[in-house]
Structures are given as structure tokens and as C-alpha cells.
Symmetry: C2
Subunit: 265 residues, 2 copies
Amino acid sequence: MRTHERVLAAIEHDLAAGRWALGARLPSERALAEELGVSRPSVREAVRILEAMGIVRTAVGSGPEAGATVIDRPAAGLGAAVRLHVASGTLPVADVVGTRVLLETWAVGEAARREVAGVPGAPATSGTGATSDTVATSSTGATADTSPPSATVAARLAEAHDLLDRMDAPGLSAEEFQDLDARFHVELVALAGNGLVEAIMAGLRSAIAQYVAVGSRALPSWTSTAERLRAEHRGILDAVEAGRAEQACERVRAHILGFYDEAGL
Amino acid sequence: MRTHERVLAAIEHDLAAGRWALGARLPSERALAEELGVSRPSVREAVRILEAMGIVRTAVGSGPEAGATVIDRPAAGLGAAVRLHVASGTLPVADVVGTRVLLETWAVGEAARREVAGVPGAPATSGTGATSDTVATSSTGATADTSPPSATVAARLAEAHDLLDRMDAPGLSAEEFQDLDARFHVELVALAGNGLVEAIMAGLRSAIAQYVAVGSRALPSWTSTAERLRAEHRGILDAVEAGRAEQACERVRAHILGFYDEAGL
DNA sequence: AGCGCCATGTGGTCTGACCACATGGGCTAC
DNA sequence: GTAGCCCATGTGGTCAGACCACATGGCGCT
């Protein structure tokens, strides 16, 4: 077994044993190296992997913000992995589209059924909202994290409405629109309250952004398409809030596949 | 931007540009370092991340097998990331169970509808079968890769049947049974022919194995539970092959949630 | 012609060092 | 006594160089 794998296993063990809570700091690389009897580069490689997977965040300097702190960003690792596999050509775009149809139709259905059950403001089981990637940067410039952790469904809905409002702004560039659009769809999935599904959807985000950017260049008219997308977004959210699960599912499906077909992908 | 991130971005760019096909070898670490004007440790950190995400495989020695070769193992990165997040306590087990219910019910439904459409032997869109993890080893000892790439649906069905037959072997330990069980469920999802969904399910495998192992210790009688699981597996596969989508979905849901409830999780 | 040995190139690891950065306490000036 | 500045300290980031284990493949010997 390679040294950095032993380090990784040791950290994973301590993580599972609760040695470090969320937000806590790992020992310094030098201290960990001495503690485990390995060299600093080996520790560094393990920390790099944890960072790529969204388990820790590293920062230089001094004080409580410096060092490797345990964070909660499941989407980072998933997103980078999916994007890299799409980049290497092993994952076809059709599979990505099929997956988002699956996740999003399910999510809006769940959300709508929860609405009709009369618990519109119930807290989500887990709010692991984190969207930006940690690894590399050749993806579309993901701006910044937005979703606060452990948000309620009501807050998620408000966030979704806010995103739609911002997409109505005149003079919005296609890139800005598509960025807001991607975040809206992640919020949509987040409404279902399953942190893992949300993380997967957030992970798909950069891969989705790539094919959307490519596909939008093949459109006859971006402005008219954007107008249609805006209306469809409103329609989806309306169906969810009205508790019409079947209608919400069908609208999401038509929305996603409609763009996919129109862009000729 | 940190040096290893620049290296990662450069490799991702070349990967997307088709510089290396699947199975090709990356330049040696020393050559890459010189090419990019960075030191070897920086290259190593980038390669480590690629390895953790299942993009490349590294091997020492000489000859065509040595070095960093481009592979196609989407499940490795996803699996390790999901397992680590579950270990750190940020992803509840209920979310993992909910996600597998979603993926598996959808997959068997798709498979059954494809059966009834009369294309039982149609080739899958992509066969990215890879199940074992690359990172760390504290998970349940995943034995080895089994699914060959680009397998047909018929081959997948045969593999599923074979797994069920092997689960009938007398004297099978609980661990062996659960390993076969996990592989059966991955095969089930693979029937739908979506490589990404299959990769996600394969990624969930080690996280699932953990809660199954914990839950099975709380069962009143493992042998009787195993007997029930065997029968349910056959029932699911029968429904798929008969093209009864609704029945297959319901049986999968009952199968997963039944164990979850019985184990008191 | 067959066999065995070693030069070669690979990743794996370690040592030691220096740098940039952010903090926080001590020192100085007022 | 207080407010401000400044540098010691500890952090990750990076580099250079070295050695090791390993697997291969060609060379030389038999």
C-alpha cells in the first residue's frame, strides 16, 4: 500500500471517528507527517485528494482560517470528476442529459407532493449547498458559492424566485443567463431535500454548462430561446408551488429536452 | 492560481483536445514537469487528483503498462467522494438510501420498457463498468473489477443471473453475499444503459456496503433475511425480463426499503 | 540459438530548503 | 495609558536533488 494511501485511510478513519467536526482544522502538514511517521509530501498528496473531493479546504497564512479545515462540499469532487470524464470523452453528453432529466423530474415531483401535503416550510433533511468547483478552472467561470447551508425549503423557493427575477434583467449576456439558469436548476433539485441528489446535480452543473454553451451557439435566435426558457422556468415553479407533481415533472422534462433538441445536440 | 492547478488545467485541456486516447500513456512525470516548466512534485499532485477521480491509473516499472495511463473509471472518484462525505457525517444514510431507490427504480423501469419494446439485445449506449475504489481502502474489501466495458444489455442480464446463482451457493458468508448483492444492484442499474447513472450507482456501492454491514448485525436472523432477499432479487429480474415496468419498480422499492426498515436504520 | 543479467526508465518516497502569506503579540511613539 | 506599527511565528506552496523498488528489454555470455 502506498504511503499517501495509508495517510488517506488514517484521516478517513479519524474523520469517521469524529476526531474533527465540521469546520475544525486538521493538524498541520508537518504535524501530521510526524504523527503518522511519513514525510510531508506524502501528507500533502493525501490532503490534495481530500481537497479535490471537497472534504477539506486549505489556506495559507496564520490564524483560525489557515491550514486544512473540514468543510462540506460534496459537489466539488463529483463535479470535477464528471466534468473530467466528459472531457476525456468517456461519458456521452446524452447520458448527462438523461441523468438530469431523471434527477430534476424526481425532485420537482417530490417537492410538489410535499407542498400538497401541507408542509411548505418544513426544513430540508440536509442542506449541503455548495456549487463551485475546487479542481481546475477550465470550466465556465463559476462565480461563487451562494446557497447557505441547512436552508429551509421556503428559503430555497425564495432563492429560486430571486434567480428567476435576476434572469429577467435586460441586457443580460448569454453567459450570465446560463450561469443563473444552472443555479436555478440546482435549487430546483435542492427542493427535494436530499443532500446527495443535490450534490450530484451540483456536480453535473459544470458538465451541463459546457454543453449548454456549445449548444446555444447553434441556436437560430438566442433572445427568443431565452424568452421561452424564462417562461418555462416560471411554469415549472408554479406547478411545484401549486402541488401539481405530474405537471411539474412533465414541464421539467419538456424544458430540458426541448433545449437539447433545439440546439441540435 | 496554484501550480498543481495549472498542471491540472493543462492536462484537462489536452485531454479534451484528444491528445491522449483511452488507454494511452501520459508523458512521464519528469517530462511533464519540464514541458510545463514546473517541478515534479507539482505534477505529482495533479496526477494524484486525476488518479483519485478515476481518470488515470499509475504503475511503476517499465514497459507499456508503466506510467500514468488514461482509463475510464467514473465510479472511482464518485465512490470515494461519497464514502468520505458519509464518513465525515455530512451526508445522512437516509439520503443514500433515497438516492438508490431513485436510481434503481428508474433503471429497472427503463430496462423493462426496453424489453417490452422488443430490443432485448440492443447495445448499451456506453458501458463504463468499473466498481472498485481507487482511494483508500477502509471500505469493505471490494474484490475486483468484473464488468467488461461496452457490454450489451443481454450480457448484463446474463451477468445479473450469474450473480444471483452464485448467491444461492450454500455456506456463503454474509460478507460474500453482500458483496455479490452490491454487484447485482449495480448490474441492475447498468441495464438502463446510462453510463453516468451506472457510475453514480457504482460510486454509491461502498457507502451502501457500509450501512448494509452495520444494519445486518441488527437483524433477528440473517439466514432468513438472506432467503427473502434472494427471492426478491429473482422477482425483480423476472419483472424486468417480462417487461412489467411498474411491477419491477415497486419490487425494487420494496426490496430496498424493506431491508432498510428491517435493519432498523 | 538460448539463457540470464544488468542498464534503463518509471513512479514512490524522503530530505531539506526557501518563499509568500496572514496573524498576533510585543514594541514604540504619542 | 493608549493607540499604532512592525516583525516573529506558523502555515501551506514550491522547488531541487537524491535514492529506492520495480518491470522491462536488450546485450552479452554460454
